[in-house]
């Protein structure tokens, strides 16, 4: 789960990580009151959306007075922020972080992530902060310094010291830097993160460290033990159809094509998208309805897929396995009748009682295209698309 910058900073502050004073606002008037209350000479307004690259897109503004801040916020709220990470549709600004402006002497990078191949966490730092770390990794891999973290022992002080020295954080900065790295690790573990990035980690002219921007992703699978983080979920940042689908326990991801698909199992769902593309059309979504594929899940699946107005045909691909195909077929027929589906639907059911299922579908009077295998299913749905 992604959380906002202000939420990440609130969490990190609890672990002793130095962040600027700040608070979140939902309205221009609120921004003004916050600035007045904070009594700061200069503030920064930062649009809170789940995407990076905000500065260049106009999502970060500096104000010298409370009135100026209110004016700027008035323009920022409701604006559509388009950054390289939001895609062309952009993100609407609904929350603004009002924070103290910082002077910057140096911009660094610090991050913790899982190294999947080594099955270990890795702490990465770089002197090249303030730019996309993926770009640094690609163009100047030597500028990234790594410390692999022992699974049993955790990050050790000597490793934190090595990281500090690698960043030339010496003199009065040395001890705070070592402490900061240890605190970041502590926060990562305690919050069950999957990614923690401080970019940039800045050194101020008066020799202080500050986590200026933070990306903190939390493991969805661990949210059950972090109700306070779960409460930070901002569904306004998510695709509405995906939020709707998750309420019915469906795993749905919206894509740009016009062939909707409904599949059981994530791998088969991706493979079904792939074969739709190979057959000459574009998948409209990823949808995994899980193992059961009951009438109810299929019905919910239909509703979600049909809410996407680009969808012109649907391919259902269920590998029945232990679930009997005739049952799945009855579910599909019932769901199609209930939702009053008008676009072509191609069904491919494999597994126990697949033949009985095909007969049921063909005799349903619902005009399903019935396919016996994956390749035929893709061909039929693309043909249906062109004749529609």
């Amino acid at each position: 789960m992604k959380i906002h910058e202000y939420q990440a900073k609130e969490l990190l502050a609890q672990y002793g990580v130095p962040v600027q004073k700040g608070a979140v606002a939902y309205k221009p008037r609120e921004v003004r009151r916050l600035v007045e209350k904070m009594e700061l000479p200069r503030v920064v307004l930062k649009a809170q959306v789940h995407a990076g690259g905000r500065g260049k897109a106009g999502g970060i503004k500096v104000a010298d007075t409370a009135i100026e801040a209110e004016e700027l916020a008035g323009k920022m709220f409701g604006m559509k922020l388009v950054t390289p990470q939001t895609g062309s549709e952009g993100k609407i600004v609904r929350r603004i972080l009002v924070t103290e402006a910082a002077d910057i002497a140096r911009e660094l990078y610090a991050g913790i992530v899982l190294d999947r191949s080594r099955r270990e966490l890795v702490f990465m730092v770089s002197q090249a902060g303030g730019v996309e770390i993926e770009k640094v990794a690609e163009e100047h891999p030597e500028q990234i310094i790594k410390e692999y973290i022992d699974r049993a022992a955790g990050l050790q002080a000597f490793q934190a010291r090595r990281l500090a020295f690698a960043l030339d954080l010496t003199g009065p900065l040395f001890r705070p830097a070592v402490q900061l790295f240890l605190d970041l690790y502590k926060a990562y573990i305690a919050c069950d993160a999957t990614l923690l990035e401080i970019n940039p980690l800045v050194v101020t002219p008066d020799q202080k460290l500050l986590a200026l921007d933070v990306k903190f992703n939390i493991d969805d699978n661990a949210l059950f033990r972090h109700p306070e983080i779960q409460a930070m979920r901002d569904t306004g940042e998510e695709e509405p159809l995906e939020v709707e689908a998750s309420k019915s326990n469906l795993n749905y991801i919206k894509l740009d094509g016009n062939v909707g698909c409904m599949v059981n199992g994530a791998g088969l769902a991706m493979a079904t998208m792939d074969i739709i593309k190979l057959a000459g059309a574009e998948p409209a979504n990823f949808l995994d309805v899980g193992g059961g594929a009951t009438a109810e899940t299929v019905e919910n699946g239909f509703r979600i897929i049909l809410s996407d107005k680009h969808v012109q045909a649907i391919l259902i691909n269920i590998f029945g396995g232990i679930v009997r195909c005739d049952r799945v077929a009855r579910g599909v027929i019932e769901a199609a009748k209930k939702t009053g589906i008008r676009i072509p639907v191609v069904v491919r059911l494999a597994g126990t009682n697949a033949e009985e299922a095909a007969v049921l579908l063909e005799e349903s009077g619902m005009n399903f295209g019935v396919a016996k295998d994956l390749a035929e299913a893709a061909r039929l749905v693309v043909a249906a698309l062109h004749s529609a």
Partner: protein
């Protein structure tokens, strides 16, 4: 021959009285798997379906029945504990079906297992089956057929799809392993390839990968250096957008890495027959095995 499980494998089912556990224990028994014990803390001393003894702990189950493999049907918050309990009890193999185990828990499990001889398959996987011998998982047994093709996959139903194609063409399987869709899994592609390479009965291997991570690239290196048997592969997620988790926790293109195109290129360079369409997996294996036969003649 086969790998990891066969007719002689003695299985203990963790969570045997739960909904999933009881259903699949029955399915496994029906398939012919030797389910010798079940574990549900607090229900020790009872019998499951009047025939399988239930124990309070895996240790007691192993002591009482000489079980050498475990399968865990335990909810995600408690699954890491279940895997470690099985390892502590001394089974040589533990399969974890559970989806949704926190990553930090899996790091602990990985560390714990590093000091034990126990192999973990999964989590978030359908399990392992040696057709006609032992089904230690949730896959539909009847689609399989004993034979010579090894199957390894990060997916569940897509594995069934591939197996269905193989069986439909008359090609049986030596053993099929679902290694799981999570970022951290106990048995990797390389581990499984190594076992199939050493297995006398396996003549070819099907490897089904997907976007995310670098397990396929590591497999490609292993295949190039060590494998003498032909490998056929399909990578799902060629049309998946970057930055989105496609159902499986591990299926995500992050920072531009882990794309299907990269994986397919690495495997092709290693001499693997890579299918672009998931509908071609069975036919590709058939073609390669026939070509090999011709060469030998």
């Amino acid at each position: 021959m086969s790998i990891l499980v066969d007719r002689k494998t003695r299985v203990v089912v963790q969570g045997i009285t739960g909904g999933e556990g009881s259903f699949h224990a029955r399915q496994m028994i029906e398939y012919g798997t030797q389910v010798v014990a079940g574990v549900t803390p607090g229900k020790g001393g009872q019998l499951f379906d009047g025939m399988v003894p239930i124990y309070d702990t895996v240790t007691a189950a192993v002591r009482g029945t000489k079980a050498d493999a475990a399968i865990a049907f335990v909810p995600a918050p408690f699954a890491a504990d279940a895997v470690m309990e099985a390892a502590d009890a001394g089974v040589r193999l533990v399969v974890c079906i559970t989806e949704g185990i926190p990553m930090n828990d899996m790091l602990r499990v990985t560390e714990y297992l590093a000091k034990k001889p126990t192999r973990l398959i999964g989590p978030n996987c359908p399990g392992i089956i040696t057709p006609g011998g032992c089904k230690l998982g949730i896959m539909p047994g009847f689609i399989h057929k004993p034979g010579k093709v090894g199957v390894i996959s990060r997916s569940g139903t897509l594995t069934y799809e591939a197996v269905g194609q193989l069986t439909g063409l008359g090609l049986g399987q030596s053993t099929c392993i679902g290694i799981g869709g999570d970022p951290i899994v106990g048995t990797t592609f390389v581990d499984a390839l190594e076992l199939f390479e050493a297995d006398k009965k396996t003549e070819a291997v099907v490897m089904i990968g997907e976007i995310g991570g670098a397990a396929e690239e590591e497999a490609a290196r292993f295949i190039e250096e060590k494998m003498t048997k032909p490998v056929v592969s399909f990578i799902s997620g060629q049309t998946a957008p970057p930055g989105r988790r496609m159902g499986h926790a591990g299926a995500i293109i992050a920072g531009g890495k882990g794309t299907a195109a990269e994986k397919m290129a690495a495997l092709e360079a290693a001499g693997v027959a890579v299918c672009t369409s998931p509908a071609d997996i069975g036919r590709m294996v058939k073609k390669i095995l026939e070509a090999r036969k011709h060469m030998e003649e």
